[in-house]
Symmetry: C2
Subunit: 337 residues, 2 copies
Amino acid sequence: MATIKDLAKLTGLSVATISKFMNGGNVLEKNRPIIQQAIEATNYTINEHARALKTNLSRTVGFITPKFSDVYASQLASEAAVYLREYKYSLFVYESLNSLEGEVEALDFFASKKVDAVMAAFIGDDKRYYQQLLSKYRFPVILFDKTFDNVAGDSVTINNLKAAYTAVSKLIEYGHRDIAIVRGKEAHFTNNQRYLGYRQALADHGIPLHEDFVVEVDYSGIDVYENITRLFVNSHKPTAIFTVNYFTTVSTIMVLNQLDYSIPEDISLFGFDNYDLFKIVKPKPWLMVQPMKAIAQEGVRMLLERIKDHQHAPYRSVVLESEMYVGGSIKRIPQVE
Amino acid sequence: MATIKDLAKLTGLSVATISKFMNGGNVLEKNRPIIQQAIEATNYTINEHARALKTNLSRTVGFITPKFSDVYASQLASEAAVYLREYKYSLFVYESLNSLEGEVEALDFFASKKVDAVMAAFIGDDKRYYQQLLSKYRFPVILFDKTFDNVAGDSVTINNLKAAYTAVSKLIEYGHRDIAIVRGKEAHFTNNQRYLGYRQALADHGIPLHEDFVVEVDYSGIDVYENITRLFVNSHKPTAIFTVNYFTTVSTIMVLNQLDYSIPEDISLFGFDNYDLFKIVKPKPWLMVQPMKAIAQEGVRMLLERIKDHQHAPYRSVVLESEMYVGGSIKRIPQVE
DNA sequence: ATGAAAGCGCTAACAT
DNA sequence: ATGTTAGCGCTTTCAT
């Protein structure tokens, strides 16, 4: 493998000059092509380990995702990578496999890789646990999807409660009162917040909560079919369904289709998150969509600031709004006076 | 940040001894807890940059995926990470964003990170292009999903043609003769191979290829609905559909459901790849499933051998078989004599 | 079993 | 603008 020393010998220049060239410093115009040629001849690429050792900056960012297949995290990682690349930064993505131990493993791994910062979508909700955990590491951590009261790191989230509130209010505005919700089994932050938004929207419009209309599904998918089917066995049936995320939205559409319930004729739907499959679905579902680009951009911005300053400025938390995608999945129900 | 030197001072031992401890060398039993304590007190983690610089081994593997959202690649990365972790290796995942330039970027990035090997699912098919490209890098590359005649690196693939042949033969065995195929627009290797398997199965059973039954869809999803709908406008309609991968399978099921075609009563289906959504689909689709664990395991095995030997042994290519998942998505059609 | 010291490839301070 | 050189944190050889 070629090193700067090799290039120095090849060009007759010094290692310092080559280093300057590599880092955009001042080099005589006539020397530039000479160096460039030597680089190409030797297929030289800089040794980032040596550079990182010297500068104490690795130009890498760790990213903790619950699963590579997680739609939210993979969109976020994808967008973040684009912004980071502009600053010569790259992502180390580590799967926590939905476990706290996996998260600790990831953090330890990042610590030894000396990443400059970490972006994380953690699975747990225990603020003090994370506060203590993160205090062990010297890199800044930017939290996504959920926040811990600005106590463990900067965070970028959306207003989950409001997004759900908006969605359910739209269904009510269209005349629906029998509105079911399909949410995850786990008591996770976003899941809960969106449930609260659902409840609050109902309450604010004087609609009592109907226990049978709260469907909790396992993200493995095994019980989705049965649980959604059960919504329609009683005489008191929902006329609309609010689904709290991509998985529940897709799977609910799938099941409704299979049960031969037409959307929106037989049942109305308001979903969450936008992803590839919704390009196929007819009619287009109404959706609350998270501004993934903005989330990534804000996150990267904060992260770069933290790396630069390295100060213990108070943690900031940015809360963004979701966007409402208008679809054709809600039927207007005549108001009964 | 704590260094070995700090630990040396703290424990009264030498840097060399601490290093040995860190690497599982011989250290007096009575010294072990002392070192361990110092590590915990300082939150010490090894500096992998320094280690990599010294040993010329980074214990990282680069992984090139077309998109983070790619189902095949994300399953593969996930499985590979598990095996690699057993050998203290970790994955650097880089998105090529479905472009050749992105792939080159990824390789250059990996070169400067001095990864020990690269796992890649490339998008192109030009053997000579990749042969030339990869010759520029000194790390071994293990190719997945497609192979280039053992000319650019070791590879792990499945027998795509045979898998498709098996699937279509099964449909024929059930009495179907009007079998459509939903494939991708792009002339990619796996896509083509599976198409060839389809054609060969038809040919071997004396069934002529019907042009209108070959549906080519864009992976963005925009034309899937229209293209599948078009299958049913003529008087000559298919009784079965073979879909060549996860995306086409899911979206075809989605569209059929929306068109109120029941599976298997109105139309039979044989799909490809297994993933989360199929846990929800009723009836369970027949599927050809790639052995992702075995693919990852074989790939990692080859990769570790390459790293160890560093010899220019001839490239090997491992071809695995897909597994057939029996479902309820095929109707038996009485044979007409 | 432990320690002293060289050196991996780079950057940056300093000298020219 | 270019060159010389120290040193980042680690492993490893060679002594002890």
